[in-house]
Amino acid sequence: MNMMSEAAVEKALDQKMNDSSYKMIGKDVSVYYGEKRALFDVNLNVRENTVTALIGPSGCGKSTFLRCLNRMNDTIENCRVTGRITLDADDIYDQNIDVVELRARVGMVFQKPNPFPKSIYENISYGPRIHGLARNKADMDQIVEASLQRAGLWTEVKDRLHESGTGLSGGQQQRLCIARAVAVSPEVILMDEPCSALDPIATAKVEELIHELRANYTIVIVTHSMQQAARVSQRTAMFHLGQLVEENDTDKMFTNPDDQRTQDYIMGRFG
């Protein structure tokens, strides 16, 4: 019965994914670091309630593209972005868009777990507090609990919410960072190789979590692991030398890609 309903949910989600319009649209996106060009006119769209995996060899521009989606590139000196990226039809590089508001809508999880040197509770409540999402302490407690539940961390940490977040294990820290991102109720969550610093067991937990998060969020994930891309994503985009090589359904990508370079990369012939 349970299996049935899960399968039904999956099916409904896939249906929704195919029906829905694009959550984010990237058109002719190019990025320059000073004189060096890192991305060449990338056209890539992100579908709602979908996990989109970005793959490709190191230095191919996949992380750069990811960081364009919530303008984290703004924090890098000499970085210039051209082209157009929209979130629900709003141009995110428009003068009128507040980058702070954008980042509240498009959250980010980093490669290395980076909890603040504060308590677990304060790590989660940080985002909601600065955005004024909670009316009172009870509200905040509820947001913290819900976020930790979502990240599958609640049962592990509920008795030590006021201990330091840096005292957790690597995998727990990364799930804490995911919970922290979730607490702001973003629409899109960007993940930059979230499992590269984790052991296989912690990786499995995070992947499971990504799978569950898909029901409520749109997720874009950069990964170096082909298996991970195949396991967690529905759409996959392959980057090479700053260019988008191919973007396709994950199933098709890993069985019968359109581009020879994708085939070679997936088979491990380069990169």
Binding site: N70, M72, T75, E77, V100, E101, L102, R103, A104, R105, G107, M108, V109, F110, K112, N114, P115, F116, P117, K118, Y126, G127, I130, H131, T166, C177, R180, A181, V184
Partner: protein, 494 residues
């Protein structure tokens, strides 16, 4: 032969040893340095070390020991009636002998022949050459001076020979030990290690020596004045140390000085901390690399200005300005144009010292803020926090222990500052709380007590050491506490 010439010879032997040793090792290995245990340079260095270190060691021992040996031999040859005199008079006699000996080296041979052993003529002849004698020398002194010169000459000659022979011998022995499996590198590195240890222990031993000397002098002070009168006395009035009086009629209360030190330091920190911290935050978080690369060195130039310059800036500019400002303000409000801020005041000294401390606060805090991992910044910005929220809620809390440590170190500088206070706050030791009045600090009083014509046995001068050790204890505690906090902070990210 002069000592520096001997050192030069030893250095040349060492240098030659280096070249020969390196070449020899290569020759043994048939030109293939890979067959050797160490690089050829290490064999060369080994020869050089063996040539230089023992020779220089012998040289220094000889230089220290030979005057002592010669002096005891000369004193041993004094006539019986001189030996019967007191130790101090024998010392005077020996001093005269060394003067005569030095003078005889200046005189030409004919002059010595002419004078013979006529004491009066000798004295006038030496006086003409610029070597004054305290009295007419006695005949035995002239003879002893001759002996002294001969012995010194012989000792020099022997020393030169021994040192040079040891240098060459060391080089030769080391040269013979060169073999492909000989571990030259390990030995040379051991020598380097020892020299590093010696260098660092010199600094530590000097500090220990200074503390010990201050302690002994301070103990002498406390035999004149009871410790509780010093530490809890509220009146500072040391009077003058008249020679011979040795009286302890002055009052040596530490409290007014300590209060002045802390008060002026506090006012200085009041100016330095906010300005320094804000400039550090701007430099670390907001400034573009271009601005940062020019502004930061400029700010640090402030730290290079000698404090005496700040002192006369306070004396000639800030003090009069504050005084005139206060009189104008007073006039506008009450119609009475008298100044309520003295030219020399706690405020003037604190303000100028604060300016001096700004670069310390900002430079140290800037380093600490930039040391906060970039990941934390990204994490906060990625959640939609603004830059100022990130600084207030993530970066500053993470950097806080380090910043506190930096502030404590700055405070210990403020406590130890002298020149600014002398010129800007005056020398009046008083207990009061008005920042517009002059006060003085521990350091100023140390300078006061130790300048001028002094007798180093009176409590008036010895009190300086008691003050010094108190100040040292305060700054030491501040620094240790600061280091403890900084170290704790450093562990946070590991």
């Amino acid at each position: 032969m002069s000592t520096s010439l001997i050192l030069l010879i030893v250095a040349i032997v060492g240098l030659a040893g280096y070249g020969i040793g390196a070449r020899r090792s290569l020759a043994i290995a048939g030109g293939l340095s890979s067959k050797l245990h160490s690089r050829p340079g290490y064999y060369g260095s080994f020869v050089a070390v063996c040539a230089i270190v023992p020779a220089v060691f012998i040289l220094f021992v000889w230089l220290v020991a030979s005057p002592a040996v010669i002096s005891s031999s000369i004193r041993g040859s004094f006539p019986e009636e001189v030996k019967a005199q007191s130790e101090a008079e024998q010392g005077l006699a020996f001093g005269m002998i060394t003067s005569i000996a030095r003078g005889m080296n200046v005189l030409s041979l004919e002059e010595i022949d002419r004078i013979g052993s006529n004491p009066v003529e000798l004295r006038s002849a030496l006086g003409a050459k610029g070597v004054p004698l305290a009295g007419d020398p006695q005949p035995y002194m002239i003879e002893a001076a001759g002996n002294l010169n001969t012995m010194t000459y012989a000792s020099r000659l022997a020393m030169t020979a021994v040192v040079v022979v040891f240098s060459v011998l060391g080089a030769g022995l080391a040269y013979r030990r060169i073999a492909p499996r000989f571990r030259a590198r390990n030995r040379v590195e051991k020598v380097i290690l020892v020299s590093l240890v010696v260098a660092s222990s010199i600094a530590i031993l000097t500090t220990v020596g200074i503390v010990l000397s201050m302690l002994t002098e301070a103990t002498r002070f406390f035999t004149h004045v009871p410790a509780w009168e010093f530490f809890f006395g509220t009146v500072w009035d040391p009077r003058f140390a008249a020679a011979g009086s040795g009286g302890s009629e002055g009052q040596f209360g530490l409290i007014p000085l300590l209060l002045g030190t802390l008060y002026i330091g506090f006012v200085a920190m009041l100016f330095a901390v906010p300005i320094g911290l804000f400039s550090a935050i701007y430099m670390a978080e907001y400034a573009s690399p271009h601005v940062r690369s020019t502004a930061k060195p400029l700010l640090e130039v402030l730290a290079g200005i000698p404090t005496i310059v700040y002192g006369f800036f306070a004396l000639t500019t800030v003090g009069p300005f504050l005084r005139d400002l206060s009189s104008q303000l007073n006039g506008l409000v009450t119609g009475d144009y008298s100044n309520f801020i003295q030219a020399q005041s706690v405020l003037t000294a604190g303000f100028v010292m604060g300016i001096m401390l700004i670069p310390y606060v900002s430079s140290l805090s800037d380093d600490i803020i930039t040391a906060v991992p970039r990941a934390l910044r990204d994490g906060s910005l990625g959640l939609g926090a603004t830059r100022s929220e990130t600084i207030k809620r993530v970066i500053l809390p993470a950097a806080l222990p380090g910043i506190v440590g930096a502030l404590l170190m700055t405070a210990s500088r403020a406590v130890g500052e002298t020149m600014i206070v002398v010129l800007a706050a005056g020398v009046a030791a008083r207990i009061q709380l008005n920042p517009f009045e002059p006060m003085t600090t521990v350091t100023v009083k140390i300078v006061n007590q130790l300048t001028g014509d002094l007798e180093f046995t009176s409590p008036q001068t010895l009190v300086a050491f008691a003050l010094g050790i108190t100040l040292f204890a305060i700054t030491l505690c501040l620094n240790i506490y600061a280091l403890y906090i900084v170290r704790k902070y450093r562990e946070q990210y590991e």
